[in-house]
Symmetry: C2
Subunit: 478 residues, 2 copies
């Protein structure tokens, strides 16, 4: 048995002062041939090891380099130095693994986020990414806890699917056919009957439709899994592979849906504020530092923690799409022709419009509901006005759309009519329509893009920096 | 706002007796024109609605069919009838959605599991699958809670990967190239530089290698995500798409790993026993019923709950691979030539061998460690004997291998030598080798097949019945 150690997070709590302890971790710095700061990832803070003269020989001392791994035994004592409450007076020190200072890419200096993206396999060892991925973990756990407390069933909807009915974007094809020698039918089309599943298959773009099947039995379900978009978007907001949370609730209307989504987002923020305070404080400082190089008007008005507290303590604004259009048309920005894209009832709101509403007009998260039916998916519930559907998007400052959802059309005749209008093949979707044939109920749901939520809570600005290994066009490393 | 109801699980607790309540759910049965049993998926138990004469007209009464959805208001009262403690004396009843009794596939009778597999979109509404998927949910939540309590970081390792180094089986290819018109290079090979990622990509078979990168910074991480095998295995134990949990721990040796894995499995079982008692009791009865048709010797020796309690209350057996071979060679079954496959040191244990060890010899879960290096992966730590590696498999009664893991080879020279022997391309794996170059530490991890764990806890016998929508050869429905 090797793992007889105490994690640094627990050591720093100070409860074991005066006791013999064992700590293991990686060297962050070594100064005066006496003080080693080591980190084990349990917290952003390091513990200081004090090495008294004569404890180690010169050869060992030279091997204490940034990134080297150590096993240290000693006594946890109160620290007389600045910057830490406790430290370890070492009685033995063993080098577990060396780290050649000439070759180790993470030198004890500030590296750019771009550089660290290239070194994604090592960036977890930095303060910034340590904090980001501990917050990501906390948010993921909070998601499961939120739904579990409310009796939702976690449903693993399929990743591989033969259905492309949602039409949410370009899809990745999945096949086991030999690409160098594709089997063909007589008409020269590819013979997918010989493929693994006997038909053409893709990676899912959403688990919603399958999620609805679960909600029609368990009342409340949620998914939390990877989803895929083969869109050639090289932006700071798009990934080809990302994680999405999609709750789906029977007996919910749009208002119920809206209330749940706001409660959910606040729960996640509150959880991180409670459990990851140190990480968020570090990220708050990091953001302030980063923004120092920006002109004043491009800096965030609120610090990261101030922003999170503000969101926690204020109701989200709720407006209809039609109201949003009116606000935009009446805005000074519109009058000064500052918008690039046209504004009139019926358009899909562009990023510049969403940002105006959220960042300039309301200065808080905004829930926009009741969009024109022609810019929304076939399954959204048709409002009585014949023009709009019971859709909702939640727009967040600095992020844009973070949640998209709707009440679903539960009336079979209206759903079938809309599918026909939109050329959705009803015969392939018979399983979906069965939920409306047998015991249909009002129901609703939404999708939260997990990485966008992590962006919002960590104050990071590029989505590639909040997922362990980003998949983007021409980039599938590690 | 529509969702002003109380879930049936809460109603059945009886705390609201005497109060006005609203319940919504789907009809399970309707008898004597007076008693409606409805279910909302929050529990396997139904609540009985009592309809007094004159409350509804004849037309409405006829629409109360199996599968129809209802909204009922009334008073929660103590029940005088058998079979339930409380019931609802209805003051109003509204039909939310009809269910044509002629067409609804789930009639109020026993359906075979095979039939329900074809109706996977509706089977959540049956008692068996209601119980199975609530248990699945509970196990998933328990997994997150177990690791969160211990300071592990949940790491989302990538699904799309250009790495095929593990060689764990046949992989699904992922591409956005037009299959009907694949771009070719001058040498007539497919030009993957034009593909979405600029190279050939696959679906992951394991997140372990990326998980190790995380462990080298956070100490303890785990993955919980979908994994894929394009193997043409049509068995009751294999899926093309399944969920796997892969913890990876720095500063762990094989013994630490073994202890954690046993603790983990027991934690999951204990959680389900505590939180899903009713579901497990239902599944226990179901299993007994199902086994009635089997000859005595093929029935389980223990009932489902007895089995789970037995596993909880006994230590797993721990033997080395070499001991396992000795036991098999000395067994009555071997002497009577009952094994189909040869037994000698060096073989990969076959299912019949594993079952003998677990079900006949030890009659409990068995951890087998220190397998011959030639039947195990390149990254497993080489033992000093030069013949074996620090691998471990956990074998469970009725399931076979449920966990596979190892201490990882942390010594760069030994790892590189082994990779060369096994033709693993070291240059493509440079990122992985960096963990051994810079601050390498003893570390270990394992993988738990989630669906196999759900099989074990629910007593179901076909893996297609414990995942919402099974993906198997020639089968990718819904």
């Amino acid at each position: 048995m090797f793992n007889k150690r105490t994690k640094i997070k627990d050591l720093l709590s100070g409860e074991q002062v005066g006791q013999e302890v064992i700590v293991m971790g990686w060297v962050r710095s070594f100064r005066n041939n006496q003080f080693v700061a080591i980190n084990d990832g349990s917290t952003n803070n390091n513990i200081q090891i004090v090495i008294e003269l004569g404890l180690i020989d010169e050869v060992t001392a030279k091997r204490i380099t940034t990134g080297a791994s150590l096993k240290v035994s000693g006594t946890l004592i109160e620290s007389l130095g600045k910057g830490q409450k406790v430290e370890i007076k070492a009685t033995s020190l063993e080098i577990l693994g060396d780290s050649d200072a000439e070759k180790y890419p993470l030198q004890p200096k500030k590296h750019s986020l771009e550089f660290l993206r290239e070194k994604a396999h090592l960036r977890f060892r930095t303060n910034t990414f340590g904090a980001v991925f501990r917050v990501r973990h906390a948010l993921a756990f909070a998601i499961h806890q939120f739904f579990n407390e409310r009796g939702f069933v976690y449903l693993h909807t399929p990743i591989l699917t033969a259905s492309d009915a949602e039409g949410a974007g370009e899809m990745f094809q999945v096949t086991t056919l030999p690409l160098n020698n594709l089997p063909k039918k007589e008409n020269n089309e590819i013979d997918f009957s010989q493929d693994f599943f006997g038909k053409a298959t893709n990676l899912t773009v959403s688990g919603q439709l399958e999620g609805e099947l679960g909600a029609m039995a368990f009342s409340d379900i949620y998914t939390f899994g990877p989803t895929f978009r083969a869109e050639n978007s090289n932006t700071t907001r798009h990934l080809a592979e990302f994680w999405m949370i999609e709750p789906e609730m029977a007996f919910y209307d749009l208002e119920d849906n809206r209330i749940l989504a706001e409660e959910f987002i606040k729960y996640l923020i509150g959880y991180a504020m409670k459990h990851n305070r140190e990480d968020l404080e570090f990220l708050d400082t990091r953001l302030k530092e980063e923004e120092k190089s920006l002109p004043q008007e491009k800096r965030s008005e609120l610090g990261l923690i101030e922003k999170l507290e503000f969101v926690l303590n204020n109701n989200f604004e709720h407006i209809s799409y039609s109201e949003a259009i009116d606000i935009l048309l009446a805005s000074p920005a519109y009058k000064k022709k500052k918008f690039k894209y046209e504004i009139k009832w019926g358009i899909d709101l562009q990023s510049e419009h969403e940002r105006y509403l959220v960042e300039k007009h309301f200065k808080k998260p905004v829930i926009v509901t009741d969009y024109p039916k022609d810019i929304k998916a076939f399954y959204m519930r048709q409002n009585d006005d014949g023009k709009t559907v019971a859709a909702m998007d939640i727009l967040a400052p600095g992020i844009g759309e973070i949640v998209g959802g709707s009440q679903r059309e539960e009336r079979l005749d209206k759903l079938e009519k809309r599918m026909k209008e939109m050329d959705i093949p009803a015969d392939e979707m018979s399983w979906y329509l069965d939920t409306r044939r047998f015991g249909s109920v009002p129901h609703a749901g939404f999708g939260l893009g997990f990485e966008r939520m992590v962006l919002f809570v960590t104050g990071m600005t590029n989505i590639r920096d909040v997922i362990p290994f980003a998949r983007t066009p021409k980039n599938c490393e590690f």
